[in-house]
């Protein structure tokens, strides 16, 4: 899921984008550890509309452990529509759950940057209130 570099209107104060597609194709995205934190936001569409939903839960798992383990202390910051991650080098699974929507809709999670990248989508229109993406930190 994710990996579609669609560019909704980024916030005026947002900085440059930090993630890129993982060159190995194994993970959805790659980010350098020096570029942390990774900031993400919830959008109502690809054009950056306000979302009709809010985050319920963000959980990060390290995929380098077998079985994968939950990374404590993440996200480092979280509001109803944004969250930030600060992760060391490794491979991660980021699970995202939203609160129920008043009506059927799809919401998108984008990197919060000048030219955003879509991280994942959440198909609440078919009762799937969760989404995820994988991230390699190098």
């Amino acid at each position: 899921m994710g990996g579609n570099p669609i560019n909704p209107a980024g916030g005026a104060a947002a900085g440059p984008c930090k993630i890129s597609a993982d060159p190995s194709g194994e993970y959805n995205f790659q980010i350098r550890v020096a570029d942390m934190p990774l900031n993400a936001k919830l959008c109502g569409d690809h054009q950056g509309a306000s979302p009709p939903a809010s985050f319920n839960l963000i959980k990060v798992r390290s995929l380098l452990a077998s079985p994968p383990t939950v990374v404590p202390g993440q996200p480092t910051a979280m509001t109803a529509t944004t969250f930030s991650l600060t992760l060391p080098v490794g491979g991660y699974y980021i699970g995202v759950v939203i609160n129920p929507l008043p009506s059927a809709a799809i919401v998108y999670v984008y990197e919060d940057c000048a030219g955003s990248n879509q991280l994942t989508d959440i198909l609440a229109d078919v009762q799937q209130e969760s989404g995820h993406f994988t991230l390699r930190v190098v």
């Binding site: 899921m1 994710g2 990996g3 579609n4 194994e26 993970y27 809010s54 985050f55 319920n56 839960l57 963000i58 959980k59 990060v60 798992r61 995929l63 077998s66 079985p67 994968p68 383990t69 939950v70 404590p72 202390g73 993440q74 996200p75 480092t76 910051a77 979280m78 509001t79 109803a80 969250f83 491979g91 699974y93 699970g95 995202v96 759950v97 609160n99 129920p100 059927a104 799809i106 989508d121 198909l123 229109d125 078919v126 009762q127 799937q128 209130e129 969760s130 989404g131 995820h132 994988t134």
Partner: protein, 633 residues
């Protein structure tokens, strides 16, 4: 008295609806089978894909489309099917909107007020509300869907579990719901207060005299009433605004993605995925590639929804065979389509398949979707119902009458009685949850908890939830089937009647083992008012005594006795044991200012026992897994 032969004819009234119902189902299904469409979630995803709202990855990774996959492939699982039908049975047993025995106008009933819903049940009662003599009656009643539902629950009749394949002769949930709006029943007198016996006396021997007696009346049961009920309006039950538990969803979602290897860490033959064999995973990979390379191309080129639906069945549908039948991928997929055998043929799932099914069902349970659907059925008993009922009454020694009445009922104030609630509520929490984002998200979680009051019955499918308060109203009229011309002041309209009942259900099942056996109980207060416009009439045979009634001074030519008309005020306190169980024991004590014939106040008692045949839906199979069970990973 009615002869057994005539009674048998009346009883066949109950048998007729079964083939009629099956015929109706066949007609309904013939229409549905002609037009295939993907299941709802899949259909929505295809629309989103066409509109560019989602990417093909959302469809080709099963962990991204669990609801679609579940709708397509896993609703056919026997435990899922049984969960659905059991939910309905649980609703019937727990609802105070269901008529336990004979309708209120019948002789020998325990009910002063008729309830709008009809169960598939057999009841034996002793009592009577306005009748001057108490009778014992037996009532057999059912909704038109009662027997087809029971047969589907046992697997005797196929249940329509897939919208995209034809299952010959199957019954669908929608069809059953349509038939559920109609109920029929028959009540017969199983004993009368006395029988008419005639005989010849031998010459007296002192103070003794021998007589040869012969039964003049019938010893068999006589018809008391036949009734039919139709639901005119059924209110929509609104699900509580309970959001799903975030950590449960996230865990279930991760387990799926990890088990299917939809995330990095490619498996090896020595280290296969947890939810499938390595060979199956290779086929799954090939299927994903086919979905991306070929399905998407054809899908985008397709001109019509029909063509897109066809592509979905041929390409996406192959995943069922890959995961459950050991099939490979056919890409291009020109001649591949799902068959009912792919979906419903019984198979013993391998360990991996069982885990796969469990993982998807855990996800569905976590999202509250399937649970919510079941709970909606269970709690639909709380929705307001308006029914029309027609009773054909044949009271003993009285002219036949017809009663037409409107019945309204509304239940509410849900409560979970079983002690399993805590287990259900806590089942989604795992030890690792405490060191996750919850700490960071605490302010949000706190805000959420203010808005959300988890309803312990929101996901109840096990019959442990009851509606504590149920109110029922009746209003109707009673008519003589032929106007009694020989009785002064009598017309065809016999009486107007209104009734109200308030039931309060209490949980007793967890108190101790004895109460646990007896289950939950219902206390009811009922008031019934009857305004007699025409007097009650008693038919007598000149020169013979009336069964159960001695009237002094009747002329030898009298064939009709009528009483002084007047209003009847009837109040009843009722205790119903067995709420939520198959067997119920209603006991009632009543006071009325008069009865139909007796113009003096009197106290009376009514009691009965009824057996709810919804237990026929229970399977003895050990693989019978409830939806609630599936919540525990």
């Amino acid at each position: 008295m009615m002869s057994p032969r005539r009674l048998a004819a009346h009883c066949s009234f109950l048998v007729i609806p079964v083939p009629v119902a099956l015929l109706l189902l066949s007609a309904l299904n013939a229409e549905a089978a002609a037009n295939y469409a993907p299941p709802p979630a899949c259909s929505e995803m295809l629309k989103d894909l066409k509109a560019g709202k989602i990417a093909i990855d959302d469809l080709r990774y099963l962990s991204n489309s669990p609801v679609c996959f579940w709708e397509l492939a896993l609703q056919s699982q026997p435990q899922t099917l049984r969960s659905t039908l059991r939910a309905e049975a649980a609703a019937q047993k727990s609802a105070a909107t269901v008529q336990i025995g004979a309708p209120s106008g019948s002789n020998g009933t325990t009910s002063a007020v008729t309830k709008p819903n009809t169960p598939l049940s057999l009841a034996s009662e002793y009592g009577g509300i306005t009748s001057s003599t108490s009778n014992q009656t037996m009532t057999l009643q059912t909704t038109l869907d009662g027997i087809p539902t029971a047969l589907a629950g046992r697997g005797v009749v196929p249940y329509c579990i897939s919208p995209i394949v034809t299952i010959p002769g199957c019954v669908s949930w929608k069809d059953l719901q349509r038939l559920n709006r109609f109920g029929v029943g028959v009540t017969s007198n199983t004993t009368a207060a006395s029988q008419n016996i005639s005989g010849t006396a031998a010459p007296a021997q002192g103070s003794s005299q021998q007589a040869s007696l012969a039964t003049a009346g019938s010893k068999g049961p006589s018809l008391s009433s036949v009734f039919a009920k139709a639901t005119i309006w059924r209110g929509q039950y609104k699900l509580p605004a309970k959001g799903p538990e975030g950590s449960q969803i996230e865990s279930a979602s991760f387990d799926l993605a990890y088990g299917l290897k939809d995330i990095p860490l490619a498996p090896t033959p020595a280290n296969p995925p947890t939810l499938m064999s390595y060979t199956t995973w290779e086929n799954y990979q090939a299927w994903q590639k086919c979905m991306k390379d070929e399905f998407l191309q054809r899908f985008e080129a397709a001109k019509t929804d029909t063509a897109r639906n066809d592509l979905f069945v041929k390409y996406y549908g192959q995943i069922v065979g890959i995961l459950f039948r050991g099939k490979g991928v056919t890409c291009p997929a020109d001649n591949v389509a799902l068959s009912d055998k792919d979906l419903i043929a019984p198979f013993p799932p391998s360990d991996e398949q069982a885990k796969l099914i469990k993982s998807f069902e855990t996800y569905m349970a976590a999202t509250s979707m399937f649970e919510a659907q079941l709970a909606q059925m269970v709690l639909a008993a709380a929705a307001p119902v308006l029914s029309f009922e027609y009773d054909y009454n044949t009271p003993v020694n009285q002219p036949t009458t017809s009663t037409a009445k409107l019945v309204f009922s509304k239940a509410g104030l849900q409560k979970r009685c079983a002690s399993s609630s805590k287990k259900t509520e806590d089942s989604g929490k795992k030890p690792d949850d405490k060191n996750t984002v919850d700490a960071a998200a605490k302010p949000m979680a706190t805000a959420d908890s203010k808005d959300k009051k988890p309803n312990p019955c929101a996901n109840s499918t096990d019959g442990s939830c009851i509606n504590q308060l149920t109110g029922t109203l009746n209003a109707g009229g009673n008519f003589y089937n032929s106007a009694p011309s020989s009785v002064p002041g009598a017309g065809a309209f016999r009486d107007a009647q209104v009734g109200a009942e308030l039931d309060y259900a209490v949980c007793t099942s967890s108190a101790n083992p004895i109460w646990s056996f007896m289950a939950n109980a219902t206390f009811g207060l009922a008031y019934y008012y009857q305004d007699q416009v025409s007097p009650s009439i008693l038919k007598v045979t000149p020169g013979m005594s009336v069964s159960g009634i001695n009237i002094v001074g009747l002329a030898s030519t009298t064939s009709s006795v009528f009483s002084k008309k007047g209003p009847i005020n009837f109040a009843q306190f009722k205790y119903g044991l067995g709420t939520g169980k198959n067997v119920k024991f209603p006991i009632a004590f009543s006071y009325s200012n008069r009865t139909d014939l007796i113009t003096k106040p009197l106290w009376s008692a009514q009691f009965g026992v009824s057996y709810d045949f919804s237990s026929l839906l229970n399977s003895s199979s050990s693989s019978n897994t409830s939806a609630a069970d599936s919540k525990s990973p």
